[in-house]
């Protein structure tokens, strides 16, 4: 199979592809999803991670993650990757903080 299309059409670029019927679905936002949305809005307002960087960050997750992660799961992972790339955060900081937050909720 030709690989040409993988180069020409990245994972987000789905306009015009074949796809199934529209599922008329919606869901109430989960509390963490709303917090995530608000966080990304603020990051955009301060131009720490702007909307286009976030979108590109989602695209960079690749088709498997895009397909398997939920909408806001993609947002937060994208934001983290952009923050790491820009060296606003370091992997060390993040690892320490997530362990701390996890421990806080388990206690």
């Amino acid at each position: 199979m030709s690989t040409e299309n993988l180069v020409k059409q990245r994972a987000n670029d789905i306009g015009g592809l074949e796809a199934g019927p529209i599922a008329m679905v919606d869901h109430e936002m989960l509390p963490w999803e709303k917090r995530c949305h608000a966080l990304l809005d603020i990051l955009d307002i301060h131009k720490i991670v702007n909307t286009e960087e976030k979108r590109r960050g989602v695209e960079d997750l690749g088709s498997e993650m895009i397909g398997k992660l939920s909408y806001y799961e993609r947002w937060i992972v994208s934001a983290i990757n952009v923050l790491l790339e820009k060296r606003v955060l370091t992997p060390d900081q993040l690892a320490k903080k997530t362990a701390e937050v996890e421990a806080r909720f388990k206690s």
Binding site: G15, P21, L39, T98
Partner: protein, 219 residues
């Protein structure tokens, strides 16, 4: 979300009662937010404020804009010329440099909005997009076969009517000005706003009088 067993029942600080132990992604969100707050790049206050802003946005704002355009031709002209500025007149502010562009549906032209690359949406006037707007099927298909997609929404556009599909991006968001339904002449501006749905402003449906309403006004 989390498959962690959680059999004690005390409340955790900072979580709502109905929320179990946060899952992996929720923990990531909290962690990033706390790190950036500690670094002085963002504040907890502005995060809370942003949640309030999210809660305050709904399609009722867009409906107000549409109803005003229906009753006030001068406003409609301003809205079509510069959507952001006209929304500002009604107290709805677009963020950043996002331009709001309004397209009018007519007897000859039907407009519909999509964001094929992600989920750009006129949030200040419509709130958050429905899941179907963000899902693959709508994004992939509406640009290629809009008539078939609209039909799935129960919207049949006559063959003689042209369809324009507007693909949004981070700097350009679209709002559709639906056609005012025939027989709504006697309705007040507020009553008209009550007829305007989110989906009509995305362009996947049209505005209709409530079933049972007699043409020519309210019965």
């Amino acid at each position: 979300m989390s498959d962690h067993d959680h059999d004690h029942d005390h409340e955790h600080p900072g979580t709502a009662k109905d929320e179990a132990l946060p899952g992996y992604y929720a923990i990531l969100e909290i962690s990033v937010r706390e790190l950036l707050t500690e670094a002085g790049l963002i504040t907890a206050d502005e995060h809370r404020r942003q949640i309030e802003i999210l809660d305050s946005r709904s399609p009722a704002l867009g409906a107000k804009v549409v109803a005003r355009a229906w009753v006030d031709p001068a406003y409609k002209a301003r809205l079509l010329a510069d959507g952001s500025a006209a929304c500002e007149e009604l107290g709805v502010t677009m963020y950043d440099n996002t331009r709001l562009i309004v397209h009018e549906n007519t007897d000859e032209l039907h407009n519909v909005v999509v964001c094929t690359l992600c989920s750009c949406y006129p949030r200040p006037v419509l709130g958050l997009p429905p899941d179907w707007y963000k899902n693959k099927q709508y994004r992939a298909r509406v640009v290629k076969e809009p008539r078939a997609v609209l039909k799935e929404f129960g919207t049949v556009i006559p063959e003689g009517v042209e369809i324009h599909v507007h693909d949004s991006n981070a700097n350009m968001r679209y709002l559709i000005l639906p056609q005012r339904p025939a027989g709504s002449e006697k309705l007040t501006e507020a009553e008209l706003a009550g007829l305007v749905t989110r989906d009509a402003m995305i362009g996947v449906t049209t505005v209709k009088l409530p079933v049972g309403a007699s043409p020519g006004g309210r019965s």
